[in-house]
Symmetry: C2
Subunit: 173 residues, 2 copies
């Protein structure tokens, strides 16, 4: 699920990605300051807002869990700020691929050290996530492919051959 914000002139930035089974939405406030859009097919559990907030009040345990998730999201956001503000195009793309490998990557059936996953976003979305243009994303992807760091089939099926190599390219954390 993509969380995006957009400027009045149409420029757009994806400010977060959420993967199952996280909580989406915001308690204790009317407006969510982002647009939420599914990137792939999703299954969603909907809770009535009033009821949910009641449950939170009665069961501190719930609120605690929610706080912890929010703290994780805050860390993620701040980590990504470094990527947006200080990394080169190549490092940004590598960081993005690592993020995906981390969340939805599975070991390749063929080679045990390789990690595979499907890109849930098209080039334009990746660009909005990385603060780049789609052309630059495309160029960096092919560059990584020619360097032998990754493999892409049918534009969306990615294999990372060497996570450490890609981490090095991504400019560390």
């Amino acid at each position: 699920v993509k969380l995006t914000k957009l400027l009045s002139d149409g420029r757009q930035q994806i400010v977060g990605l959420q993967f199952a089974p996280e909580f989406i939405g915001k308690v204790f406030s009317e407006k969510v300051p982002v647009s939420v859009e599914a990137a792939t097919d999703v299954e969603i559990c909907v809770f009535p807002k009033a009821e949910l907030e009641n449950m939170l009040k009665q069961q501190p345990e719930f609120e605690h869990r929610l706080l912890e998730q929010t703290l994780v999201q805050l860390d993620d956001a701040r980590t990504w700020m470094v990527t947006l503000g200080r990394k080169t195009a190549q490092e940004k793309v590598a960081s993005f691929l690592l993020l995906l490998a981390d969340h939805i990557g599975k070991p390749s059936p063929a080679a045990p050290t390789s990690i595979e996953f499907m890109l849930p976003l098209k080039r334009a979305d990746i660009a909005d996530f990385l603060g780049l243009t789609l052309e630059t994303v495309s160029r960096q992807m092919t560059k990584l492919r020619k360097m032998g760091a990754i493999d892409i089939r049918k534009n969306l099926d990615v294999t990372v051959h060497d996570i450490d190599r890609l981490t090095a390219i991504s400019g560390g954390d």
Copy 2:
């Protein structure tokens, strides 16, 4: 107070600014993944971690407040991600000045519509906050000055003459 993250090769990004009287630190986890540095003279209240976490467990009220502050920080972080990823140098600097005007600005004694404040950060820090170089920050500042949008005295005493004008320059939200 500056919250900064840095890359292994020395590149640096300020991922948040906190103003009095906010809570700094992180509960329920050993490591804070950022460096914290005061930008101006500060007065800090320190709480023993264990005690604080106990209090949180016993008084859901506290945890609730903390959750709300964390949600605000998350919103701020995401808003800033748009600035980092999608705005031009000029817009970034304008956005930064608006942020300060919002948090530490006071109406000017002379002109009621103007807002004044002292820059708590030097150029290099502003650059790290905006994902720019200090030279670019400097150039944009002078450009804004020559456009008549702001006034700077002694390199750190800023007057914003017209908030709406600066907001327009900042590229909206």
